[in-house]
């Protein structure tokens, strides 16, 4: 099987998504989990760019448009996430997720 550039991009994005997911699920530091989520979002962005560039009609620009918005959303998400990390740091003086165990049952 011959690997086209599209295939290579998809392999890269899938690998990035998996790395991000593993990071998000295994890390105990809230900021590193946030980093994992950002990696997953950017993997999806690579997909959009690849499908747009090698797709049937690259003139339409749909994929690029989606990516521009997705980057904006990711930035907003990082801002909200860091604010919440600061909020929890004020209470428990650490951002380890194991220390956040007030709520359970």
């Amino acid at each position: 099987m011959i690997l086209t550039p599209l295939h290579l991009c998809l392999i890269l994005s899938s690998a990035l998504f998996c790395i991000g997911l593993i990071g998000a699920l295994t890390r105990s530091n809230a900021i590193l989990v946030l980093l994992g989520i950002e990696l997953m979002l950017n993997a999806a962005n690579i997909n959009f760019i690849a499908f747009w560039r090698y797709g049937p009609n690259p003139e339409a620009g749909t994929g690029v448009l989606f990516v521009v918005f997705a980057i904006g959303v990711a930035a907003a998400e990082a801002a909200v996430g860091l604010a919440l990390v600061i909020a929890i740091y004020r209470h428990q003086r650490s951002i380890r997720l194991q220390d956040a165990r007030l709520l359970k049952g």
């Binding site: 994005s13 998504f17 991000g20 997911l21 998000a24 809230a30 989990v33 946030l34 989520i37 997953m40 979002l41 993997a43 999806a44 962005n45 997909n47 959009f48 690849a50 499908f51 797709g55 049937p56 009609n57 749909t62 994929g63 448009l65 989606f66 918005f69 997705a70 959303v73 907003a76 998400e77 909200v80 996430g81 604010a83 919440l84 990390v85 909020a87 929890i88 004020r90 209470h91 428990q92 997720l97 956040a100 007030l102 709520l103 359970k104 049952g105």
Partner: protein, 487 residues
Amino acid sequence: MINYTAIFHALRPEASLVVGALVVLGLDLWLGRGRTEGQRLRLSSLVGLLAVAAAICASLGAGSSGEVVDGVLILDSLGLATRVGVLGLTGLTLLLAPGTSRVRNPAELVAIILFATSGFTLMAVAQQLLLAFLALELASLSLYILAGFDKSRPASAEAALKYFLLGGVSAAFMLFGFSLLYGLTGSLVLPEIARAIAVNEQSTLLMVALVMILVAFGFKAAAAPFHLWAPDVYQGAPTISAALIASASKLAGFVLFVRLLWSGLLPAAGSVATFDSVPGWLPVVAGLAGLSLFLGNFVALAQSNVRRLLAYSAIAHAGALLLGVMAAGVAGPGPLFYYAATYGLATVGAFGVIAVVEQAGGCQSLSDLAGLHRRSPLLAACLLIFILSLAGIPPLAGFFGKFAVFAAALKVGGLGGPLGWLTLAAIFLSAIGLYYYLLILKQALVLGPAADRGKISVPANAGLALILAAGLIVALGLFPSVVLGLF
């Protein structure tokens, strides 16, 4: 050439909500100085309610005139009903807020509630993946902030962080699934995606995309096994935020889910009508529904915290709503909408009662509700209606919601397949659910109050909101065809 007048006309509800949010912030800056937080919250809520009322008028004015801008938006009866529904639920939440929540930034609270609501109303009419993603994220990001709004309590911050991290992962899953759909079909508009999938043969990549989108929606809808955030958020978030997260966001999320699945992914639906099921998203949704129904109902039995109990009951209701999603292809979205809207009303009401009791000395464990009928007969009567509606007792709206959804699900394949048996299980589990709902009512209506608990004075606005919600539940229960006939 893009018709900007048409876009503006279709998006007037969102515009009035956003303008309302900005006016709330500006007025608070201008008039708020030197006033108490209670006064500022009253002013902000009043302006917020006006914005919601304007948005309801604008949605009715926009009507159901069909597709706008090449199918990016769709104004149909479902979109109109959902817009009015989420706006009504937000209105009730805003009406509850003054006097029942003590916040340091009242104007910001109301503004973020309005931003979240504009996300909900956009979700109700989105028919394109980009708009759906943006609307969902606008709503979700606002809800994360609302969950963490009470900065004085560690539980609130913890709930918000958990909600955010799980929600962020689900957003990434959704974006990845959307990107694969775009790659497979070359389009973002749902009907075109459906056409492209129908022409092409079904590929593994399509299944991957489907699973990713279902995982993401499972998170948003709090369906098992992606429900882990729900109990923590319901318990830790400020009561007003929990009411919004449990009601309006559910309604908007399920409507978007139905649109995405039935108008965008219909050719990949598969089948669950018979036991030799065809692969597609229907069998996966059936699995999620069954798991949510079982887990929600059984774990709720063991809860002693009233908010966690409501959260597990919400998971069980998510299972029933997923049955409605599966039946929407045959019976239309009417039963699902009726169920989600009346469930939202009952939940807002229940959280409203909790919010009022909270002001009179805390309301976390079930025993905090003890003797409510002596402490405040009005609250006890309203709670009775809300809880019985959640349990599905006729003639309240909750019963007809369950009846309509289960009847629609049974129409799909009768008892000859997994969907029929799942519906039977759901009916049986509703009977189990009655037990934990009655546990709440036993505390509120049978037991006497603890010695140190006195009478509760209900703020006038909160009393009005509770009576409105209870009245709507009774009225919609007596005349279900008012809503069911819309579709």
